[in-house]
Amino acid sequence: MGLNYQLVLWNNHKKTYDKLIVLGMLLYIILFAVVTLVFNSETSIETLVIRAFGSLAIIMLHIILVIGPLARLNSAFLPILYNRRHLGVSMFIAAFIHGGFSMFQFHALGDVNPIYSIFISNMDYGSLTDFPFQVLGFLALLILFVMASTSHDFFLGNLSAKTWKRLHMMVYAAYALIIAHVFLGAFQQETSPFTIGILVFGFILVSSLHLITAFKEGHIDTAKTEEKEGWLKVCDISEIEEDRAKIFTVEKERIAIFKYDGKLSAIHNVCKHQGGPLGEGKIIDGCITCPWHGYQYLPANGQSPPPFTEKVATYELKLDGKTVYINPKAFEEGTEVNPCKI
């Protein structure tokens, strides 16, 4: 949300989270090094760095993958979601150190181009137990690079939110490549049992949380409702918390119905910034605030407060007793609609 671009969108909260990320990463590396050297003092420094940063990147990737579902299941996790972008870039840095050291140790000291060497040093592509698993790690690192390097509002605006989102959904392809990279590496004893343990536990956790969230969201979208003279019944007014919203699906579009200051307003649920769920945010300083990155919209007209220019579609509401009804016909983005008085 802005009229120019900032190097990094920092505020006090984000600075605190970033400090926690750096501290957490440092503590993990130190702990990993101490435990490794205690139990296997013959480990070389290169191997230690490769394993420490590789396992760190895997742990961080799992945290990134579970933040979304957790925040949808429980709003207490939303603050972590706000900082997912920085966590993603930090994870790429850890993966890059792992990949860089691996390439240096195994491929850079010969007379073949190191990247070419990754692909041809082991040509057993038809074998499961001898598969050149480093190739999979290289491809995953390429995807993570594209994602980390486009983690800026410039790319959201210029690639379009749809393309940007598709690009960043490639995290699941990277995740699949990383799983294969680690498991196939294990056959060649290049992967520690610790890392495999993290991966098995992490895979179960990530897939379970995604399935639970998909079930919950599917329930929202398939909920049946009554129609009354062109208006659709949403809910009893008591079901909407003050300064919060209820998400309601009309013709496959999600709408967020907010209750605030004795009024009700409805806007399209999808934030213009990154497709965040506005209905999972709350009213702050009179504005609907996206839970993902804090983009704001005025409830009555769906417009970002001036000088910002983002706007979303609005909807008409009415109250019949204590029952909230919505007109399913969307107004043009940014159209002023009188709030429904309670």
């Binding site: 671009y5 692909f119 594209v146 800026h152 605006g157």
Partner: protein, 69 residues
């Protein structure tokens, strides 16, 4: 298999080279891609450079659009 690898890495190399050249162009003429870059600090261009180089096929269209506009 070796020929497939050579073709893949060749394409990757050419893609990267064009990306770097486009990235250098972006460092100099960023507002031609996005007018908001005119009021943005120059150091932001360096931060965006790797992403611009990686996604040049998506951004190069912006350059032609701004020329025809």
């Amino acid at each position: 298999m070796e020929i497939v690898i050579k073709i893949f890495l060749g394409i990757l190399g050419v893609y990267t080279l064009i990306g770097i050249l486009f990235g250098v162009f972006f460092l100099i003429k960023a507002p031609k891609i996005d007018p908001l870059m005119a009021d943005t600090k120059k150091k932001v261009r360096f931060l965006l450079f790797p992403g611009v180089a990686a996604t040049w096929p998506f951004l190069i269209g912006k350059l032609f659009n701004s020329k025809t506009a």
